[in-house]
Subunit: 214 residues, 2 copies
Amino acid sequence: MKHRTICILSGGVDSTTLLHQLVAGGDEVLAMSFDYGQRHRKEIRYAARSSRKLGVEHMVVDLAGINALLAGSALTSREMEVPEGSYEDEAMRTTVVPNRNMIMMSLAGAYAVSRKYDRIAIAVHAADHAVYPDCRARFIEQFDIALKLGNYEQVSVYVPFLDWTKARIVRLGLRLGIDYEADTWSCYQGGEEPCGKCGTCLERAEALEEARNE
Amino acid sequence: MKHRTICILSGGVDSTTLLHQLVAGGDEVLAMSFDYGQRHRKEIRYAARSSRKLGVEHMVVDLAGINALLAGSALTSREMEVPEGSYEDEAMRTTVVPNRNMIMMSLAGAYAVSRKYDRIAIAVHAADHAVYPDCRARFIEQFDIALKLGNYEQVSVYVPFLDWTKARIVRLGLRLGIDYEADTWSCYQGGEEPCGKCGTCLERAEALEEARNE
Protein backbone atom coordinates (compact mmCIF):
# COMPACT_ATOMS: atom_id res chain seq x y z
CA MET A 1 0.00 0.00 0.00
CA LYS A 2 1.21 3.47 -0.87
CA HIS A 3 1.98 5.58 2.19
CA ARG A 4 0.67 9.09 2.58
CA THR A 5 3.48 10.82 4.43
CA ILE A 6 4.03 14.28 5.90
CA CYS A 7 7.76 15.08 5.77
CA ILE A 8 8.98 17.62 8.31
CA LEU A 9 11.34 19.66 6.14
CA SER A 10 13.78 22.24 7.48
CA GLY A 11 15.62 22.69 4.21
CA GLY A 12 18.88 21.33 5.60
CA VAL A 13 20.87 18.29 4.50
CA ASP A 14 19.04 15.62 6.49
CA SER A 15 15.40 16.51 5.89
CA THR A 16 15.98 17.36 2.23
CA THR A 17 17.48 13.90 1.76
CA LEU A 18 14.51 12.40 3.56
CA LEU A 19 12.12 14.22 1.23
CA HIS A 20 13.96 12.85 -1.82
CA GLN A 21 13.96 9.35 -0.33
CA LEU A 22 10.21 9.43 0.31
CA VAL A 23 9.44 10.64 -3.21
CA ALA A 24 11.81 8.06 -4.70
CA GLY A 25 10.05 5.39 -2.64
CA GLY A 26 6.70 6.29 -4.16
CA ASP A 27 5.04 7.88 -1.13
CA GLU A 28 2.39 10.52 -1.57
CA VAL A 29 4.24 13.33 0.22
CA LEU A 30 3.40 16.65 1.81
CA ALA A 31 6.40 18.73 2.96
CA MET A 32 5.86 20.77 6.12
CA SER A 33 8.20 23.51 7.38
CA PHE A 34 7.94 25.40 10.64
CA ASP A 35 8.68 29.09 10.91
CA TYR A 36 9.37 29.54 14.60
CA GLY A 37 11.30 32.78 14.18
CA GLN A 38 14.61 30.97 13.86
CA ARG A 39 17.55 33.15 12.90
CA HIS A 40 18.29 30.76 10.06
CA ARG A 41 14.81 31.19 8.57
CA LYS A 42 16.51 31.32 5.19
CA GLU A 43 16.45 27.52 5.23
CA ILE A 44 12.69 27.66 4.58
CA ARG A 45 13.36 29.10 1.09
CA TYR A 46 15.52 26.08 0.41
CA ALA A 47 12.76 23.81 1.66
CA ALA A 48 10.36 25.47 -0.78
CA ARG A 49 12.86 25.06 -3.64
CA SER A 50 13.35 21.33 -3.05
CA SER A 51 9.62 20.79 -2.78
CA ARG A 52 9.05 22.60 -6.06
CA LYS A 53 11.76 20.59 -7.81
CA LEU A 54 10.14 17.37 -6.68
CA GLY A 55 6.59 18.50 -7.38
CA VAL A 56 5.63 18.11 -3.74
CA GLU A 57 3.12 20.33 -1.95
CA HIS A 58 4.90 22.50 0.62
CA MET A 59 3.21 23.98 3.68
CA VAL A 60 4.84 26.50 6.02
CA VAL A 61 3.37 26.53 9.49
CA ASP A 62 3.66 29.95 11.09
CA LEU A 63 4.55 29.61 14.75
CA ALA A 64 5.29 33.32 15.21
CA GLY A 65 2.44 33.56 17.72
CA ILE A 66 4.19 31.21 20.06
CA ASN A 67 7.62 32.79 19.86
CA ALA A 68 7.34 33.92 23.45
CA LEU A 69 7.17 30.28 24.40
CA LEU A 70 10.45 29.52 22.75
CA ALA A 71 12.41 32.29 24.42
CA GLY A 72 15.66 31.42 26.04
CA SER A 73 17.17 29.68 23.01
CA ALA A 74 19.94 31.02 20.81
CA LEU A 75 17.91 29.95 17.78
CA THR A 76 15.07 32.35 18.53
CA SER A 77 16.60 35.15 20.56
CA ARG A 78 18.85 37.68 18.88
CA GLU A 79 20.25 38.74 22.22
CA MET A 80 22.04 35.46 22.65
CA GLU A 81 25.16 34.51 20.71
CA VAL A 82 25.19 31.39 18.56
CA PRO A 83 28.13 29.43 19.92
CA GLU A 84 30.89 28.53 17.46
CA GLY A 85 32.53 25.14 17.40
CA SER A 86 31.41 21.56 17.31
CA TYR A 87 28.21 20.01 18.59
CA GLU A 88 30.25 18.17 21.13
CA ASP A 89 30.83 21.32 23.11
CA GLU A 90 28.64 21.92 26.10
CA ALA A 91 27.99 25.40 24.71
CA MET A 92 25.93 23.98 21.85
CA ARG A 93 23.21 23.22 24.35
CA THR A 94 22.02 26.79 23.91
CA THR A 95 20.87 25.90 20.38
CA VAL A 96 18.25 23.58 21.83
CA VAL A 97 14.78 24.95 21.19
CA PRO A 98 12.90 23.39 24.07
CA ASN A 99 10.67 20.54 23.04
CA ARG A 100 10.93 21.47 19.38
CA ASN A 101 10.49 18.07 17.81
CA MET A 102 7.51 17.32 20.02
CA ILE A 103 5.82 20.56 18.98
CA MET A 104 6.48 20.00 15.28
CA MET A 105 5.42 16.35 15.41
CA SER A 106 2.26 17.21 17.39
CA LEU A 107 1.23 19.71 14.73
CA ALA A 108 2.18 17.48 11.81
CA GLY A 109 0.34 14.67 13.61
CA ALA A 110 -2.81 16.80 13.89
CA TYR A 111 -2.69 17.56 10.20
CA ALA A 112 -2.06 13.92 9.36
CA VAL A 113 -5.15 12.95 11.37
CA SER A 114 -7.36 15.54 9.72
CA ARG A 115 -6.13 14.87 6.17
CA LYS A 116 -5.69 11.11 6.41
CA TYR A 117 -1.94 10.83 6.09
CA ASP A 118 -0.76 7.61 7.70
CA ARG A 119 2.70 8.70 8.78
CA ILE A 120 4.88 11.66 9.59
CA ALA A 121 8.57 11.50 8.76
CA ILE A 122 11.37 13.33 10.54
CA ALA A 123 15.08 13.21 9.71
CA VAL A 124 16.59 12.70 13.16
CA HIS A 125 19.88 10.80 12.95
CA ALA A 126 22.68 9.36 15.06
CA ALA A 127 24.78 12.54 15.29
CA ASP A 128 21.86 14.42 16.88
CA HIS A 129 21.57 12.04 19.79
CA ALA A 130 24.32 13.37 22.02
CA VAL A 131 22.99 16.92 22.24
CA TYR A 132 19.27 16.73 21.54
CA PRO A 133 17.26 14.38 23.77
CA ASP A 134 14.25 14.74 21.48
CA CYS A 135 16.21 13.11 18.64
CA ARG A 136 16.79 9.85 20.50
CA ALA A 137 15.05 6.57 19.73
CA ARG A 138 13.45 6.31 23.16
CA PHE A 139 11.78 9.68 22.79
CA ILE A 140 10.62 8.98 19.24
CA GLU A 141 9.18 5.59 20.27
CA GLN A 142 7.30 7.06 23.24
CA PHE A 143 5.98 9.88 21.12
CA ASP A 144 4.80 7.43 18.48
CA ILE A 145 2.81 5.51 21.10
CA ALA A 146 1.33 8.71 22.56
CA LEU A 147 0.30 9.92 19.09
CA LYS A 148 -1.50 6.64 18.43
CA LEU A 149 -3.19 6.63 21.86
CA GLY A 150 -4.31 10.23 21.50
CA ASN A 151 -6.20 9.86 18.24
CA TYR A 152 -8.65 7.51 16.58
CA GLU A 153 -6.62 7.56 13.37
CA GLN A 154 -3.35 5.67 13.66
CA VAL A 155 -0.49 7.85 12.43
CA SER A 156 3.05 6.48 12.75
CA VAL A 157 6.33 8.31 13.13
CA TYR A 158 8.79 7.29 10.40
CA VAL A 159 12.48 7.83 11.20
CA PRO A 160 14.53 5.92 8.62
CA PHE A 161 17.77 7.80 9.47
CA LEU A 162 17.56 7.22 13.22
CA ASP A 163 20.83 5.28 13.46
CA TRP A 164 22.52 6.72 10.38
CA THR A 165 25.59 8.94 10.36
CA LYS A 166 25.29 12.18 8.46
CA ALA A 167 27.81 10.89 5.92
CA ARG A 168 25.55 7.92 5.20
CA ILE A 169 22.61 10.29 4.68
CA VAL A 170 24.70 12.36 2.26
CA ARG A 171 25.79 9.23 0.36
CA LEU A 172 22.12 8.32 -0.14
CA GLY A 173 21.38 11.88 -1.21
CA LEU A 174 24.19 11.95 -3.77
CA ARG A 175 22.87 8.72 -5.24
CA LEU A 176 19.42 10.32 -5.43
CA GLY A 177 20.94 13.25 -7.32
CA ILE A 178 20.75 15.96 -4.67
CA ASP A 179 22.88 19.05 -5.28
CA TYR A 180 23.57 19.90 -1.65
CA GLU A 181 25.27 23.22 -2.40
CA ALA A 182 22.36 24.52 -4.44
CA ASP A 183 19.45 22.88 -2.68
CA THR A 184 20.09 22.91 1.06
CA TRP A 185 20.91 25.38 3.78
CA SER A 186 22.36 24.53 7.16
CA CYS A 187 24.10 27.53 8.78
CA TYR A 188 22.47 28.67 12.02
CA GLN A 189 23.54 32.27 11.37
CA GLY A 190 21.36 32.70 8.28
CA GLY A 191 23.70 35.23 6.60
CA GLU A 192 24.31 35.68 2.86
CA GLU A 193 26.87 32.89 2.87
CA PRO A 194 27.25 30.07 5.41
CA CYS A 195 29.48 31.21 8.28
CA GLY A 196 31.57 28.03 8.14
CA LYS A 197 32.08 28.16 11.89
CA CYS A 198 28.90 27.12 13.67
CA GLY A 199 28.25 23.51 14.65
CA THR A 200 25.96 22.77 11.77
CA CYS A 201 28.34 24.29 9.16
CA LEU A 202 31.21 22.17 10.49
CA GLU A 203 29.10 19.02 10.66
CA ARG A 204 27.82 19.56 7.12
CA ALA A 205 31.30 20.12 5.64
CA GLU A 206 32.61 17.02 7.37
CA ALA A 207 29.75 14.81 6.13
CA LEU A 208 30.05 16.05 2.53
CA GLU A 209 33.81 15.51 2.62
CA GLU A 210 33.46 12.04 4.09
CA ALA A 211 30.75 10.96 1.63
CA ARG A 212 32.68 12.23 -1.40
CA ASN A 213 35.92 10.57 -0.41
CA GLU A 214 34.43 7.13 -0.37
CA MET B 1 8.80 21.93 47.92
CA LYS B 2 6.53 24.41 46.24
CA HIS B 3 5.56 23.43 42.71
CA ARG B 4 5.81 25.83 39.82
CA THR B 5 2.88 24.84 37.65
CA ILE B 6 1.53 25.88 34.26
CA CYS B 7 -2.25 25.40 34.26
CA ILE B 8 -3.84 24.92 30.84
CA LEU B 9 -6.95 27.07 31.23
CA SER B 10 -9.85 27.09 28.78
CA GLY B 11 -12.13 29.14 30.99
CA GLY B 12 -14.65 26.33 31.38
CA VAL B 13 -15.78 24.54 34.54
CA ASP B 14 -13.01 21.95 34.78
CA SER B 15 -9.91 24.01 34.12
CA THR B 16 -11.17 26.95 36.18
CA THR B 17 -11.63 24.60 39.11
CA LEU B 18 -8.13 23.23 38.53
CA LEU B 19 -6.71 26.75 38.60
CA HIS B 20 -8.42 27.45 41.92
CA GLN B 21 -7.21 24.13 43.32
CA LEU B 22 -3.59 24.83 42.36
CA VAL B 23 -3.67 28.30 43.87
CA ALA B 24 -5.34 26.98 47.04
CA GLY B 25 -2.63 24.33 47.24
CA GLY B 26 0.09 26.96 47.26
CA ASP B 27 1.58 26.37 43.80
CA GLU B 28 3.25 29.16 41.94
CA VAL B 29 0.91 29.19 38.95
CA LEU B 30 0.93 30.49 35.39
CA ALA B 31 -2.37 30.15 33.51
CA MET B 32 -2.08 29.43 29.78
CA SER B 33 -4.95 29.63 27.29
CA PHE B 34 -4.85 28.67 23.62
CA ASP B 35 -6.60 30.65 20.95
CA TYR B 36 -6.96 28.16 18.12
CA GLY B 37 -9.78 30.01 16.42
CA GLN B 38 -12.43 28.06 18.30
CA ARG B 39 -15.98 29.28 17.82
CA HIS B 40 -16.32 29.50 21.59
CA ARG B 41 -13.32 31.84 21.88
CA LYS B 42 -15.39 33.79 24.39
CA GLU B 43 -14.20 31.34 27.01
CA ILE B 44 -10.76 33.00 26.89
CA ARG B 45 -12.26 36.16 28.41
CA TYR B 46 -13.51 34.03 31.28
CA ALA B 47 -10.06 32.50 31.65
CA ALA B 48 -8.58 35.99 31.91
CA ARG B 49 -11.17 36.98 34.50
CA SER B 50 -10.47 34.01 36.77
CA SER B 51 -6.73 34.57 36.49
CA ARG B 52 -7.15 38.21 37.46
CA LYS B 53 -9.36 37.33 40.43
CA LEU B 54 -6.72 34.91 41.69
CA GLY B 55 -3.78 37.19 40.96
CA VAL B 56 -2.31 34.66 38.55
CA GLU B 57 -0.36 35.60 35.42
CA HIS B 58 -2.35 34.69 32.31
CA MET B 59 -0.81 34.00 28.91
CA VAL B 60 -2.80 33.52 25.71
CA VAL B 61 -0.99 31.54 23.07
CA ASP B 62 -2.09 32.55 19.59
CA LEU B 63 -2.37 29.52 17.36
CA ALA B 64 -4.10 31.37 14.53
CA GLY B 65 -1.19 30.61 12.22
CA ILE B 66 -1.85 26.92 12.48
CA ASN B 67 -5.58 27.09 11.95
CA ALA B 68 -5.24 25.37 8.62
CA LEU B 69 -3.84 22.39 10.48
CA LEU B 70 -6.95 22.08 12.56
CA ALA B 71 -9.42 22.14 9.72
CA GLY B 72 -12.04 19.47 9.62
CA SER B 73 -13.36 20.05 13.13
CA ALA B 74 -16.67 21.64 14.09
CA LEU B 75 -14.79 23.69 16.69
CA THR B 76 -12.73 25.56 14.12
CA SER B 77 -14.76 25.52 10.93
CA ARG B 78 -17.85 27.68 10.61
CA GLU B 79 -19.06 25.62 7.71
CA MET B 80 -19.73 22.64 9.94
CA GLU B 81 -22.65 22.45 12.33
CA VAL B 82 -22.03 21.94 16.04
CA PRO B 83 -24.06 18.84 16.82
CA GLU B 84 -26.73 19.17 19.51
CA GLY B 85 -27.28 16.51 22.13
CA SER B 86 -25.19 14.54 24.55
CA TYR B 87 -21.53 13.62 24.33
CA GLU B 88 -22.58 10.03 24.04
CA ASP B 89 -23.78 10.55 20.52
CA GLU B 90 -21.49 9.49 17.74
CA ALA B 91 -22.10 12.92 16.21
CA MET B 92 -20.12 14.60 18.97
CA ARG B 93 -16.98 13.18 17.45
CA THR B 94 -16.96 16.14 15.12
CA THR B 95 -16.06 18.38 18.09
CA VAL B 96 -12.71 16.61 18.36
CA VAL B 97 -9.89 18.98 17.40
CA PRO B 98 -7.30 16.47 16.26
CA ASN B 99 -4.47 15.99 18.68
CA ARG B 100 -5.44 19.09 20.64
CA ASN B 101 -4.22 18.08 24.06
CA MET B 102 -0.89 16.94 22.66
CA ILE B 103 -0.38 20.27 20.91
CA MET B 104 -1.30 22.31 23.98
CA MET B 105 0.79 20.16 26.32
CA SER B 106 3.77 20.24 23.94
CA LEU B 107 3.69 24.04 23.92
CA ALA B 108 3.08 24.35 27.66
CA GLY B 109 5.88 21.82 28.15
CA ALA B 110 8.27 23.92 26.05
CA TYR B 111 7.48 26.98 28.12
CA ALA B 112 7.85 25.01 31.34
CA VAL B 113 11.31 23.88 30.23
CA SER B 114 12.43 27.36 29.29
CA ARG B 115 11.03 29.05 32.42
CA LYS B 116 11.75 26.32 34.92
CA TYR B 117 8.22 25.25 35.80
CA ASP B 118 8.25 21.69 37.09
CA ARG B 119 4.79 20.64 36.00
CA ILE B 120 1.96 21.34 33.61
CA ALA B 121 -1.61 20.74 34.77
CA ILE B 122 -4.57 19.87 32.59
CA ALA B 123 -8.15 19.28 33.72
CA VAL B 124 -9.00 16.09 31.84
CA HIS B 125 -11.58 14.03 33.73
CA ALA B 126 -13.55 10.80 33.61
CA ALA B 127 -16.44 12.07 31.49
CA ASP B 128 -14.05 13.03 28.68
CA HIS B 129 -12.69 9.54 28.27
CA ALA B 130 -15.41 8.05 26.11
CA VAL B 131 -15.16 10.57 23.29
CA TYR B 132 -11.67 12.04 23.47
CA PRO B 133 -8.80 9.54 23.30
CA ASP B 134 -6.33 12.26 24.30
CA CYS B 135 -8.08 12.62 27.67
CA ARG B 136 -7.43 9.03 28.70
CA ALA B 137 -4.93 7.94 31.33
CA ARG B 138 -2.91 5.83 28.90
CA PHE B 139 -2.36 8.78 26.61
CA ILE B 140 -1.49 11.16 29.44
CA GLU B 141 0.99 8.66 30.90
CA GLN B 142 2.71 8.08 27.57
CA PHE B 143 2.87 11.79 26.90
CA ASP B 144 4.39 12.39 30.35
CA ILE B 145 7.16 9.88 29.60
CA ALA B 146 7.81 11.37 26.15
CA LEU B 147 8.00 14.89 27.60
CA LYS B 148 10.58 13.75 30.14
CA LEU B 149 12.61 11.83 27.53
CA GLY B 150 12.57 14.76 25.13
CA ASN B 151 14.08 17.36 27.44
CA TYR B 152 16.89 17.72 29.94
CA GLU B 153 14.54 19.39 32.41
CA GLN B 154 12.02 17.02 33.94
CA VAL B 155 8.53 18.45 33.64
CA SER B 156 5.60 16.31 34.80
CA VAL B 157 2.01 16.26 33.66
CA TYR B 158 -0.37 16.79 36.59
CA VAL B 159 -3.92 15.50 36.11
CA PRO B 160 -5.63 15.49 39.51
CA PHE B 161 -9.14 15.15 38.00
CA LEU B 162 -8.30 12.21 35.75
CA ASP B 163 -10.79 9.81 37.37
CA TRP B 164 -13.22 12.40 38.72
CA THR B 165 -16.78 12.94 37.56
CA LYS B 166 -17.68 16.47 36.58
CA ALA B 167 -20.02 16.67 39.58
CA ARG B 168 -17.08 15.92 41.89
CA ILE B 169 -15.07 18.70 40.23
CA VAL B 170 -17.97 21.12 40.73
CA ARG B 171 -18.30 20.10 44.40
CA LEU B 172 -14.64 20.95 44.94
CA GLY B 173 -15.10 24.23 43.10
CA LEU B 174 -18.10 25.23 45.18
CA ARG B 175 -16.08 24.55 48.34
CA LEU B 176 -13.31 26.75 46.92
CA GLY B 177 -15.86 29.53 46.38
CA ILE B 178 -16.13 29.50 42.60
CA ASP B 179 -19.14 31.30 41.12
CA TYR B 180 -19.59 29.12 38.06
CA GLU B 181 -22.26 31.28 36.47
CA ALA B 182 -20.14 34.41 36.62
CA ASP B 183 -16.67 32.97 36.16
CA THR B 184 -16.84 30.18 33.61
CA TRP B 185 -18.00 29.63 30.06
CA SER B 186 -18.71 26.28 28.47
CA CYS B 187 -21.04 26.58 25.47
CA TYR B 188 -19.44 25.54 22.19
CA GLN B 189 -21.61 28.01 20.26
CA GLY B 190 -20.07 31.12 21.84
CA GLY B 191 -23.24 33.24 21.55
CA GLU B 192 -24.38 35.97 23.95
CA GLU B 193 -25.98 33.38 26.21
CA PRO B 194 -25.21 29.67 26.43
CA CYS B 195 -27.30 27.74 23.88
CA GLY B 196 -28.36 25.16 26.47
CA LYS B 197 -28.43 22.46 23.83
CA CYS B 198 -24.87 21.48 22.90
CA GLY B 199 -23.07 18.64 24.67
CA THR B 200 -21.03 20.85 26.93
CA CYS B 201 -24.07 22.95 27.98
CA LEU B 202 -26.00 19.79 28.88
CA GLU B 203 -23.05 18.28 30.73
CA ARG B 204 -22.43 21.47 32.67
CA ALA B 205 -26.06 21.85 33.75
CA GLU B 206 -26.17 18.24 34.86
CA ALA B 207 -22.98 18.53 36.94
CA LEU B 208 -24.09 21.75 38.64
CA GLU B 209 -27.48 20.22 39.43
CA GLU B 210 -25.92 17.05 40.79
CA ALA B 211 -23.36 18.88 42.91
CA ARG B 212 -25.94 21.25 44.41
CA ASN B 213 -28.42 18.52 45.26
CA GLU B 214 -25.99 16.71 47.51
